[in-house]
């Protein structure tokens, strides 16, 4: 099992035998995994709703995450930490709406490969734009000084922003999205449209407008995740490609078009990836793909996927 010679690019890390793990280390990585999972969920949920409703395989979704982080970095110095997060998310949402109505809309009548190619191409363009504007090297954002570094819970110190605030905020956002999908008329339209968008149109709903709104909402969630992640991760052009692949993995693991699928998939992959960093570091980056492989063999529609969607 220890054939790591084929993967030379991994930095050598001290490997701890599993029996010597302390409870603190395990808790640490578990909490890390939950934070990572929460951010994955925010990105994957938007991607999943867009894919479920419009059938658009949006390869630029990771770019919206990346742009959220860069815009947050840009505005942080100008208008402060919290307004910068909000503004970055809203701008990315508006960008998503413009993106849908100008570039994606003309392609709905064609086979899905057209939008896949389009969004793949625009993802490359976004990456180049970011390189031109902010450079190749990573930039970073610090949390404001009034935010405590860590908080003690049951004798363990947790980074406050990353592991407490962010997790709680994401839970609130997800509850909001759940309410939107299940308790509002827009939610009925989205859920019905995921099964049969044309029939929703026959019932008199302006679906072109709904598509733009939903694309904007999904993009806003990706942008918000990026902005919230800005103080945690190094902000660099490769963020987009790293995140888009993993969020697609999460959508496939959870099931296309499924709210709970995105949540369970995101947490599963976030936590297992984090724990793998502790157990066997060389395997960290393949954890998600390994889970996806197993899921595809056992449940080809994903954990919460339903029959009849895109089949």
């Amino acid at each position: 099992m220890r054939r790591t010679e084929g993967l030379p690019s991994y930095p050598r890390r001290e490997r701890l035998p599993a029996i010597h793990l302390t409870l603190a280390q395990l808790t640490d990585q578990l909490v890390n995994g939950i934070t990572l999972g929460m951010l994955y969920i925010l990105v994957a949920l938007g991607l999943n709703i867009i894919l479920g409703l419009m059938g658009v395989i949006n390869f630029s979704h990771g770019s919206f995450f990346m742009l959220g982080a860069y815009l947050m970095y840009q505005f942080n110095g100008l208008i402060g930490f919290w307004p910068a997060i909000l503004l970055a998310a809203v701008l990315v949402g508006l960008l998503g709406m413009a993106f849908e109505s100008v570039l994606v809309r003309p392609l709905y009548r064609r086979i899905p490969e057209y939008t896949l190619l389009l969004t793949f191409g625009t993802a490359l363009i976004f990456a180049q734009i970011v390189r031109r504007v902010w450079g190749d090297d990573a930039v970073r954002v610090d949390t404001p000084p009034y935010i405590p570094d860590s908080i003690n819970i049951a004798g363990l110190a947790f980074p406050f922003y990353k592991d407490v605030f962010l997790v709680l905020l994401t839970v609130v956002i997800l509850a909001g999205v759940w309410l939107l999908l299940n308790k509002t008329n827009i939610g009925i339209i989205i859920r019905a449209g995921t099964r049969d968008a044309e029939m929703v149109k026959i019932l008199g709903i302006n679906m072109p407008l709904m598509f733009t709104v939903v694309f904007g909402l999904g993009s806003l969630m990706a942008g918000l995740a990026g902005a919230l992640a800005a103080p945690i991760y190094a902000i660099q052009p490769s963020l987009a490609s790293e995140w888009i692949v993993l969020t697609f993995v999460i959508v496939i693991v959870g099931g296309i078009g499924s709210f709970w699928g995105a949540i369970v998939g995101g947490l599963l992959i976030g936590i297992l990836t984090s724990l793998m960093a502790l157990l066997w570091p060389p395997a960290v980056e393949m954890t998600g793909y390994f889970i996806m492989g197993i899921i595809l063999l056992v449940r080809p529609r994903g954990l919460f996927g339903v029959e009849g969607l895109f089949e």
Partner: protein, 231 residues
């Protein structure tokens, strides 16, 4: 006239499925589209609803040209379409299916409360997922059209694929909503049932209108009846 088609032509790929179709429906009428399978009856409904492109010809509704308008705009103008495969949303509850249809609809004689009184079987399942039998699906599909209080209902093969007893109950529903003065363009495979429900009819064959008239006139035209409807 409420709805008029004037020399409408439509194609599926290269096959010419509607050929100069001209017909009209007046407010309060039930008009049957008669003909065999593949004669263009369902395509006529889909073309009116903007789901199949009319290559030439005009469609007018309430005096306004509506040719190739978007389905949602047509629905908002007062055209309801009940497709032959019903297209119920099984991932929504029965109540949500109705609420969705009422969202863009207009206020009028029908509201959710009255629907549940009229279709008791739907009222019982209002909060349950819409995983329904064929007959129940058809009731919900018709209810979805009614709750929007449209000016005309395009009713495509409402009894298709239903057991005889269930088909009879759907037939009675159609008779009931007709008695309330609703305007219906009815596509029905069984010519005798269709004619018993209608005021006038058009006989289609290979995408052309071959005959038209009141039900009495059509019944008297034995040659046409025999040739195109095998009655």
């Amino acid at each position: 006239m409420l709805l008029e088609l004037d020399r409408v032509n439509a194609y599926y790929e290269k096959s010419h499925v509607l050929q100069n179709v001209t017909l009209s429906v007046d407010a309060g009428e039930v008009v049957a589209l008669l003909g065999r399978n593949g004669s263009g009856r369902s395509t006529t409904c889909k073309t009116i609803m903007g789901l199949v492109v009319a290559k030439s010809g005009t469609i007018r509704f309430k005096g306004q040209e509506i040719t190739n308008k978007s389905p949602f705009a047509l629905a908002q103008m007062g055209i309801a379409f009940v497709p032959e495969d019903r297209r119920i949303f099984p991932n929504l509850t029965v109540g949500e299916n109705l609420r969705l249809a009422a969202l863009a609809g207009r206020k009028g004689a029908w509201n959710e409360k009255r629907i549940y009184e009229y279709f008791a079987v739907l009222g019982e399942r209002k909060d349950k997922p819409a995983k329904l039998s064929g007959g129940e699906q058809q009731m919900l599909a018709i209810a979805r059209a009614l709750v929007a209080n449209p000016d005309i209902i395009l009713l495509d093969e409402p009894m298709e694929g239903l057991a005889p007893l269930i088909a009879r109950s759907v037939e009675e529903v159609v008779r009931g909503i007709r008695a309330e003065g609703n305007t219906i363009l009815l596509v029905e495979q069984n010519a005798r049932v269709a004619m018993s429900l209608s005021d006038r009819g058009y006989v289609l064959s290979n995408g052309r209108v071959m005959a038209s008239g009141t039900i009495a006139e059509l019944e008297a035209d034995e040659a046409t009846m025999h040739r195109y409807l095998a009655v």
